[in-house]
């Protein structure tokens, strides 16, 4: 059953062991998400501020533009009117009429006025008023249907202020009335009809004033034109020089000077600071209650056409005192509306970003939690393995170590961190470790055995591994140190070796015990010979004797005594126990020695031992007695095998070598090894011999393996078996 794996981790890695705390992940996600959101909010706030400022300045620029446009529109309009007026006060029809007040001339003039009214749509009335104040020609706009007013309907306007004002002017001057409401029969016409009266006196060639041309400009048209400029930057307001509203926020505010009974809601009353500012400055910006009010004083009569000076170019009088003030109010609500739109946009983006931030926070929280859990697992493992683990940087300073490391050296936590290897190991140990350290820092993994002083338990056998830590680009960062206390293994190996040696010794003794009879026989030969030679000598000495013969006999006695002692020595060597001594061993010598040891036995059992020894056989490193025991065991087994078989009684002992190994083969012509036995033949207590312990091959294999070699066997194609052991040849 496959356990549910951790997310985003390969199944075989240590992540399997890591349990991520979901509650912690959620908590961390929320915290991180909030933190990220707060951080993200900062640029948004700044952006929003900047955008709001920008909005404001955009709106203000718009406001300024609108103000300028309004001023321009006013001047343009007034210019057009003045230009019409100049024309009307000089054109031929008027001249003809003045020169000859005939019915047709007056009709011509009236038609002219009608044409103008029809074309221009801006004049409520176009009149010619005589110097007596009576209307002589009049065309009414008549709500879009201009008409010439009949003669009987013409009125006497002599009482009107503009008539008087104009009559006081000299030719070349123009009177312009303030913008006010048209009066009808002395009262304000309803609906109110704003109007400006433009009047130019008309004189004859002598400069005598004959009358005046009067244009009633439709004030509403100006209001409409300015109204078109109302927009998001604010609404256009128009104030006259007295601070009365000509275009106001509400109809009630407007034209109050025309209605003396109404509350005088002039600017001076409504907002004294603004009024004060307006009085002192021609243009400016006033801020109040979050609203921005831009104002500009407009001199409508100081148009462009007024500029070029020329004879007969009529100019309005007091043009530099005739002014209005255009004001555009950028209200707080307009600003807020713009900001609201901005905020709505920003919130959308911010919301998306916050969502993203939470996703990132979630991933981050998961990664953090998993890392933390992984670190805990790793720490737990690293701290509890019975291995010293550390990380050393290129300066040979400890950057990490586990608890085992501290315990080994008897130091407190963090006492190793930052120290150099030299400081920790001491001069002596460091000098010994130095070549390996250099190897590790050269990027090579090294492993070696050493003795290190444990703080409480004295010298310990350890295996030390340095594992280099190299970046993919080849840069060396440091290396991992792993120190494994192998003292128990070493001790057990020593014990095992001791046991093996003792067992081998016991086995040798047993072998010699089995061979005791043979050895006794063998030793009896020289002894018997000695006894007979000496007896012969003694007998001969009693009578005449031949000196030469006696010498031969004594010589023979000497030889035979040596022979006997050689046998004794050989046996003693074979069964000696003494401390094993490692050294170069000539396997040919061992083969000969073994052959000599079993020679008598072999001969008496009629087994031929054939030696095929390679010349110049390289020596091997080993223990002479133990290796002799191996060869002895193999030869004895082979002898037993040939005696059990029906073939030739021959055992061949062969040595050979190749580039690495030295081989010793023992072949027999016996029945071979039962294939069913296989490798079990090397187990203890496996024997096919009566009275055999079954220890010979087991011990032989232990001995060979203790020498780092191998012992194996194969059945010969022609019958019998060959046992071969190989050992590494000694380095020259």
């Amino acid at each position: 059953v496959k356990p549910p794996g951790p997310w985003l981790a390969q199944a075989h890695t240590i992540h399997r062991a890591v349990q991520v705390n979901i509650r912690q992940v959620i908590l961390l996600t929320v915290l991180l998400g909030l933190a990220f959101s707060a951080l993200l909010a900062i640029p948004f706030v700044f952006y929003q501020r900047a955008e709001a400022d920008n909005n404001l300045s955009l709106l203000q620029a718009e406001q300024e533009r609108v103000t300028k446009l309004a001023a321009g529109a006013i001047r343009q309009e007034m210019d057009a009117v003045l230009s019409d007026l100049r024309y009307l006060s000089q054109h031929n029809e008027l001249r003809n009429y003045l020169a000859h007040d005939s019915r047709s001339n007056r009709l011509d003039l009236a038609r002219e006025y009608l044409a103008l009214a029809t074309q221009k749509h801006i004049y409520d009335q176009i009149r010619f008023i005589g110097r007596d104040g009576r209307e002589r020609v009049r065309v009414d706009f008549n709500e879009g249907r201009p008409a010439i007013i009949a003669e009987q309907d013409l009125r006497d306007q002599s009482g009107r202020y503009y008539v008087g004002e104009t009559l006081r002017l000299s030719p070349g001057q123009i009177y312009v009335s303030p913008l006010d409401l048209h009066l009808e029969q002395g009262a304000v016409e309803q609906p109110p009809k704003p109007a400006i009266r433009f009047a130019a006196p008309v004189a004859d060639d002598q400069g005598v004033i004959l009358g005046m041309v009067v244009l009633n400009y439709q004030g509403q048209r100006l209001r409409d034109k300015l109204g078109e400029l109302d927009g998001h930057a604010g609404r256009i307001r128009l104030l006259n020089a007295q601070g009365h509203w000509l275009i106001g926020a509400t109809p009630e505010d407007e034209w109050v000077f025309m209605y003396p009974d109404r509350p005088q809601r002039s600017l001076a009353v409504l907002s004294p600071p603004l009024w004060k500012q307006m009085e002192s400055k021609k243009s400016g910006i006033h801020q109040t209650n979050g609203s921005w009010i831009r104002f500009e004083r407009v001199y409508p009569l100081l148009g462009e056409n007024a500029t070029p000076a020329g004879a007969g170019f009529a100019r309005p009088i007091d043009a530099d005192r005739y002014y209005w003030t255009v004001a555009v109010e950028l209200s707080q609500s307009a600003i807020q509306a713009a900001n609201q739109a901005l905020l709505k946009r920003l919130w959308t983006v911010y919301g998306a970003l916050v969502l993203f931030a939470f996703l990132v926070a979630g991933a981050l929280a998961f990664a953090i939690s998993r890392n933390k859990a992984l670190a805990q697992v790793m720490e737990k493992v690293v701290d509890n393995v019975p291995v010293l683990v550390a990380y050393v940087d290129t300066e040979q300073r400890y950057r990490f170590n586990n608890m085992a490391y501290e315990r080994f050296f008897g130091l407190k936590p963090r006492q190793i961190y930052g120290r150099t290897m030299l400081e920790l190991l001491g001069d002596d140990d460091y000098r010994k470790a130095r070549p390996y350290i250099e190897q590790a820092l050269a990027g090579e993994a090294v492993s070696f055995e050493r003795k290190l002083r444990h703080v409480g338990e004295g010298m310990r056998d350890v295996t030390i591994s340095y594992l280099p830590d190299t970046l993919p680009n080849g840069e060396m960062r440091g290396f991992y140190v792993m120190v494994n206390d192998v003292s128990p293994i070493k001790a057990s190996q020593r014990r095992e070796r001791q046991q093996m040696l003792e067992l081998a010794h016991v086995s040798r003794l047993a072998s010699m015990g089995e061979m005791a009879t043979e050895i006794a026989h063998e030793i009896n030969q020289p002894l018997a010979a000695i006894a007979m030679y000496s007896a012969a000598g003694l007998r001969t000495l009693k009578g005449e004797f031949d000196r030469g013969k006696m010498e031969t006999w004594l010589d023979a006695i000497n030889t035979q005594a040596k022979r006997a002692s050689e046998i004794v020595k050989r046996v003693r060597r074979f069964v000696q126990k003494g401390e094993p001594q490692l050294g170069p061993v000539d396997l040919n010598l061992i083969a000969r020695e073994t052959a000599a040891l079993v020679d008598h036995d072999a001969r008496s059992q009629d087994v031929e031992i054939v030696l095929e020894l390679a010349e110049g056989l390289p020596a091997v490193q080993g223990e002479r007695v133990l290796l002799e025991q191996v060869v002895f065991n193999l030869v004895r087994n082979a002898m037993d095998a040939v005696l059990a078989g029906s073939g030739e009684h021959r055992v061949t002992l062969r040595t050979s070598s190749d580039a690495q190994l030295v081989y010793v083969e023992v072949s027999d012509s016996g029945p071979g090894v039962d294939p069913a036995l296989g490798e079990h033949i090397f187990d203890s207590f496996v024997t096919n011999k009566q009275g055999g312990l079954g220890m010979g091959l087991a011990i032989s294999r232990s001995i060979v393996e203790a020498h780092g070699g191998t012992l194996r066997y194969a059945n010969n194609p022609g019958g019998g078996a060959t046992f071969t052991f190989s050992l590494a040849r000694e380095a020259c």
């Binding site: 009879t517 009896n524 020289p526 018997a528 007896a535 000598g537």
Partner: protein, 207 residues
């Protein structure tokens, strides 16, 4: 047929032992001859050999016991002393049963060995003397005529002259003449001597 001179034949694969034995035997003036294996001894063996065979029971190739059997088959009548190693008593017993005279265990006292060899030589001498007498007697009886031989056989069974004459249907006097001739040919003077010699000549040959 003349027998060889009594000799001690040594068969041992161990040269040192062989030569030491030789030295010892030469010190007591015994004739000896050494062989390093049963096979090389068998190559020279013949029925006229007399003396003693010192045989090492354990040898590569043909063993001592096989050699012993082989000699019997060839009718070689040598005294045999088996030399055994320590603990080889069962093998020695087998050798004795097969007709060996004696055995001696290594390591041996050389006087013991010499005693045994002397005994063997004595035995051998007796054997050869007996054999000589037997052959001699048989040869004497071999010269009798068939009629004389028939008379002799009847004498040997203890018949008197008359009974013999009656049985052979001849004159008593003729029987006496035959007896006289027999005694002259065989070379004895009394009847008792004649009967002894007959019994010697007709005893079964023993090895």
């Amino acid at each position: 047929m003349e027998p060889d001179l009594p000799t001690v034949y040594i068969v041992d694969d161990d040269e040192a032992v062989r030569e030491a034995l030789g030295a010892l035997l030469s010190s007591v003036c015994l004739r000896y001859q050494s062989f390093d294996s049963a096979e090389s001894f068998l190559a020279v063996v013949h029925p006229h050999m007399r003396g003693c065979l010192l045989l090492d029971v354990r040898m590569p190739g043909m063993s001592g016991l096989e050699l012993q059997r082989n000699l019997q088959e060839q009718g070689v009548a040598l005294q045999i002393v088996i030399i055994t190693g320590h603990g080889d008593v069962p093998m020695a017993v087998r050798a004795l049963k097969a007709g060996a005279t004696d055995f001696i265990e290594k390591p041996f006292n050389e006087q013991d060995l010499l005693d045994r060899i002397q005994t063997c030589m004595k035995n051998d001498h007796q054997l050869w003397s007996t054999r000589q007498a037997l052959e001699d007697a048989a040869a004497r009886f071999g010269a009798l005529t068939p009629r004389e031989r028939a008379v002799m056989e009847l004498i040997a069974t203890g018949n008197h002259t008359k009974k013999i004459a009656a049985q052979l249907d001849i004159q008593d006097r003729t029987v006496d003449v035959h007896r006289f001739n027999i005694m002259r040919k065989v070379g004895v003077r009394t009847l008792a001597e004649l009967l002894h010699l007959w019994s010697v000549a007709h005893q079964p040959v023993q090895n």
